[in-house]
């Protein structure tokens, strides 16, 4: 029993072919959209590659780019096929290609779905990369005279101002590293020497943050230095002060930003996937309807279209057997004897037995 059988008159078939032609061209456009979404994501990740540890988080955008390009190709071919299908004479050209085309497209839509799901699962990899990348970048903030790292100060400052964040997890990350270069420290000063001696590594640590951490919405001029010392500033309490510096960590801010982009991209890709699936269903109906018309012989007659000729289970079993038998093609030749019909013929006179020879067509 066929799955989801639908009757098709000749006009219905023509209309279906025309509609599918238009839908295939729309799918080419959605393929271009997929490609540009992948490109956009790749560019956005590249822009911040200085603060990412693993610079190869490009699996998702690469997948989207590849899928977009293949979608354009497949739907272009589909458009040509459907255009020719509105005329039953031209269908002969595509008869043999259509079934493999449908199978390929089915696996391809599966890839689109995988691409959409990957967008939602990239979060952990990204978080890890940002955490390690920011940690390294904060360490090298002061090294504006070392080639290769001299732009990190500017990058971090602009990042903190643009994303309204401070430090890796929070502003206290700045208390644990030396972010003032030795070139600007007067080592002969007693206070500086005390600070350098106060920790094992000989780093100049202070409870201050760079200016880029300052919150523009604070009603008060920014307090950058001696943040934990309440008595150093008038009418200031460190524990309750929330508007002075940005309270979010940059890792969280960047993660939210990227997840927002990826969620909208993932949603768009899911919608495109549904659209592709519906186009594929239409093409399958068209293919089965046209094949049945050819079997019936009369091009103007009514025919039936279906998704699968037999039920799911039977089709799966048949395909499984085909695949099994592909592997066993050599064995059939070896196991002869009882199954070989020609051996049942007894070698008597030709005239009498001719009618009894079973014809193997």
């Amino acid at each position: 029993m066929a799955v989801l059988k639908v009757k098709f008159t000749k006009t219905k078939r023509c209309k279906l072919a025309q509609i599918l032609w238009i839908l295939n061209w729309i799918s080419v456009i959605t393929g271009i959209i997929l490609f540009s979404l992948g490109l956009f994501l790749k560019v956005e990740i590249r822009k911040k590659n200085e603060i990412m540890y693993n610079r190869e988080i490009h699996s998702v955008p690469n997948m989207l780019i590849a899928v977009g390009v293949i979608a354009c190709g497949i739907n272009f071919l589909g458009g040509k096929i459907c255009y020719d299908c509105s005329d039953s004479n031209k269908f002969h050209r595509w008869k043999l290609i259509m079934l493999p085309y449908i199978i390929c497209t089915f696996f391809f839509t599966f890839c689109v779905l995988v691409g959409a799901l990957m967008c939602y699962t990239m979060k952990n990899e990204l978080e890890e990369s940002l955490y390690l990348g920011l940690k390294e970048a904060l360490k090298f903030y002061k090294d504006t005279d070392i080639p290769g790292r001299c732009f990190l100060k500017k990058t971090i400052d602009l990042l903190q101002m643009e994303f309204r964040c401070c430090g890796n997890n929070g502003f206290r990350d700045w208390f644990e590293i030396q972010w003032v270069s030795m070139r600007y420290l007067d080592v002969s000063n007693k206070e500086v020497q005390d600070r350098l001696k106060s920790n094992v590594d000989g780093k100049y640590l202070m409870d201050s943050v760079p200016f880029s951490c300052c919150n523009i919405y604070s009603p008060r001029p920014c307090i950058q230095h001696q943040l934990t010392n309440n008595s150093a500033h008038y009418s200031y309490e460190f524990q309750t002060e929330e508007l002075n510096v940005w309270m979010t960590g940059c890792r969280q801010a960047l993660l939210e930003y990227y997840m927002q982009i990826m969620q909208s991209i993932g949603f768009t890709v899911l919608i495109i996937w549904l659209f592709e699936l519906s186009v594929l269903t239409g093409v399958r109906y068209l293919q089965t309807a046209l094949e049945n018309v050819l079997l019936q012989g009369d091009p103007d007659s009514e025919s039936e279209g279906w998704l699968l000729e037999n039920g799911f289970v039977e089709t799966a079993r048949t395909n499984f057997n085909i695949i099994k038998n592909l592997g066993k093609s050599n064995q059939i030749n070896a196991v002869s004897g009882n199954e070989d019909p020609n051996l049942n013929v007894t070698p008597s006179s030709h005239g009498a037995t001719r009618t009894h020879i079973p014809t193997v067509s």
């Binding site: 101002m161 420290l185 200016f211 001029p221 008038y234």
Partner: protein
């Protein structure tokens, strides 16, 4: 004597009509573009309206918006007229419409030129407006608790960060203003009392700037406070230090930004003006050529097209006479009344 006469055989008329139809659609699109450019400029000026003292500069985008809309309408009608010009039966219905149409179209084309000239001429106006607006913004920077001014700090900070500028003319403007609110000053501290006494108005003046003046490209952590005191910072020379804070004043930054925007828009508007004039001139030739065809039996005959039927001076004289007649209807009627009894009697 006719101005700029051109002969129009039938084929040439058809070609001009078809080419003009396409050209008028191009001109419609360019009119829509002028409209969007006007809206864009207005929104950009609006974004920074808090640091501008007056809105006189808005005359430029307003003119562009009006001209853009008018251009779309003018070119739409140009397309319809030239579509009808290929059909002799339908062309005469435009007869009464043509002269006011050309007058209006020429007026709006002139307005386009006026908009371009204004965008260059209003630079001084913009600069004055920004000077006063920024001065007030810097004065009210500390008043984050006064309703109506509480957003000035935010506005100025965002402005300085985005345009990479500091102060009105330069960063020294911050030295002349108290930008730290009294709520955060400890009056019992001797240093604070000294500073307040050190000037006539009793203001707390410092040689420091807000954090938004800091330059991220500086290799050194930002020096915001005690900027003129070389000994307060290690290895620091105030007179030669250039990368610490932004050197440019915000007024200069904003003026150059807006003038750049208006110059680009001005060049585009000039281009669209040329397109518009091309459409109008071609339409005039087509219309006069078709006027010669109407009423003739052979619609494929050759006619002449021109810009003005008589010379420029004569046309102006005639137009003035016509306008005078419209404004003096009583005199004409009185003359007729006088002459009527004369003839009767």
């Amino acid at each position: 004597m006719v101005l700029l006469k051109v002969k129009f055989p039938f084929q040439r008329r058809v070609k001009v009509a078809q080419g003009l139809w396409l050209f008028s659609w191009l001109a419609t699109v360019s009119g829509a573009l002028i409209f969007t450019l006007g809206i864009f400029l207005k929104s950009e000026l609006r974004k920074r309206s808090e640091v501008m003292d007056n809105t006189e500069i808005h005359a430029v985008p307003n003119t562009l918006i009006i001209v853009g809309l008018a251009s779309v309408v003018i070119n739409f009608f140009a397309g319809r007229i030239c579509q009808d010009s290929l059909d002799v039966a339908r062309f005469p219905r435009w007869r009464g419409f043509i002269v006011p149409y050309f007058a209006g179209a020429a007026l709006f084309a002139l307005l386009m030129l006026v908009a371009v000239i204004m965008s260059y001429a209003m630079k001084g106006n913009l600069e004055e407006s920004l000077k006063i607006g920024l001065k007030n913004g810097i004065r009210f920077y500390k008043d984050t608790d006064t309703p109506g001014r509480c957003f000035q700090k935010q506005t100025i900070d965002l402005l300085q960060i985005e345009f990479q500028c500091c102060g009105n003319t330069n960063f020294k403007d911050w030295f002349e203003v108290q930008w730290i609110s009294n709520r955060y000053l400890d009056y019992s501290c001797k240093e604070v009392k000294d500073r307040i006494k050190s000037n006539v108005d009793g203001r707390y003046l410092v040689d420091g700037v807000p954090f938004s003046c800091c330059n991220p490209s500086s290799p050194r952590p930002c020096i915001q406070h005690q900027m003129t005191n070389n000994s307060a910072h290690y290895n620091y020379d105030y007179t030669t230090e250039e990368l610490n804070v932004f050197r440019r004043g915000c007024r200069e930054a904003l003026v150059s930004y807006y003038m750049g925007l208006m110059n680009t828009i001005g060049v585009l508007v000039l281009l669209f003006f040329l397109i518009q004039m091309g459409v109008l001139v071609s339409l005039r030739y087509l219309q006069t050529a078709m006027d010669g065809v109407v009423g003739q039996e052979n619609t494929e005959c050759e006619t002449e097209g021109y810009i003005l039927e008589k010379g420029v001076k004569e046309t102006i004289k005639l137009t003035i006479q016509k306008i005078a007649k419209i404004f003096q209807p009583n005199q004409v009627q009185n003359e007729q009344a006088e002459s009527a009894p004369g003839t009767a009697g």
